[in-house]
Symmetry: C2
Subunit: 143 residues, 2 copies
Amino acid sequence: MPFSREASAGYLANHMARLFEKGLARRLVPLGLAPAQFMVLLVLWREDGLTQRDLAERLDVEQATMANTLARMERDGLITRSVDAEDRRARRNHLTERGRALEGPATEAAAAQNAAALAGLTEAERAALIAIAAKVIATMRRG
Amino acid sequence: MPFSREASAGYLANHMARLFEKGLARRLVPLGLAPAQFMVLLVLWREDGLTQRDLAERLDVEQATMANTLARMERDGLITRSVDAEDRRARRNHLTERGRALEGPATEAAAAQNAAALAGLTEAERAALIAIAAKVIATMRRG
DNA sequence: ATCACTTGCATAGCATGCTATTCAACAGGA
DNA sequence: TCCTGTTGAATAGCATGCTATGCAAGTGAT
């Protein structure tokens, strides 16, 4: 049996993710924001002042990846970083005014992208997609 | 209503795709192969001698992305590239012996990764995931 | 106190992906 | 033929992501 891209969950996940990211990137450009930066903001809007390690854990990316993303966010004026008083190895990441102000428009952009992507699905299909994807993610994180 | 990563199809797609790619990369390392190279091989095993433009279209990536991937594949001895006799702008991409020989083991690696990822799902859930993902992809490609 | 281990970050090097630009080769019409 | 517009590739520059290292700052046991 030939291996078929079209029926491979891994290939479809990759393709779907690329299209999502491209669409989100386009919607975030006017805000001066990139997709990975938006993910970090999603966390900081709820819990400001987290460390790099905290952020990497919550978004399940490697520490080195987060280090680079945070450096770009600092460069772009979205966050400031200050050495922790208790543990001088750690740096606390805080939202700037600009970073805080983007919550409304950036969230709308992301919601619009999700809506556009899921436009052809029924409510049941949307729920199924989310539930099944969450299961697959859980399986792979354990394995 | 707060925007929730956990219930965002875009976020889940990204997370799922990263985990798939990481797992596949690990399984392909012993073969000296990277995930994007495997995708190109999947196409060439069926249709050898395609141009860069052909490959980019079939995998839905930009021409520049494909140019870089093909350069790495040539460097790694997976393909050779020759100028097309009819159209001297175009270059035909041909599998090497090594590229051809990897079909079996690489396909097995990818199948194993898919199986591991979907291990927690029922047959119906697997079918649903693939069908719904394909629909979402179709929607985004049009939009 | 000292030494070994752990932990938080930074950096190097690489693969993928994108947009934008450039160049050479082709194709079609004036 | 010549000029224009299109098309196939290459390249530059950047964002994300990964692994592997290295360093400084904690921690704990002796």
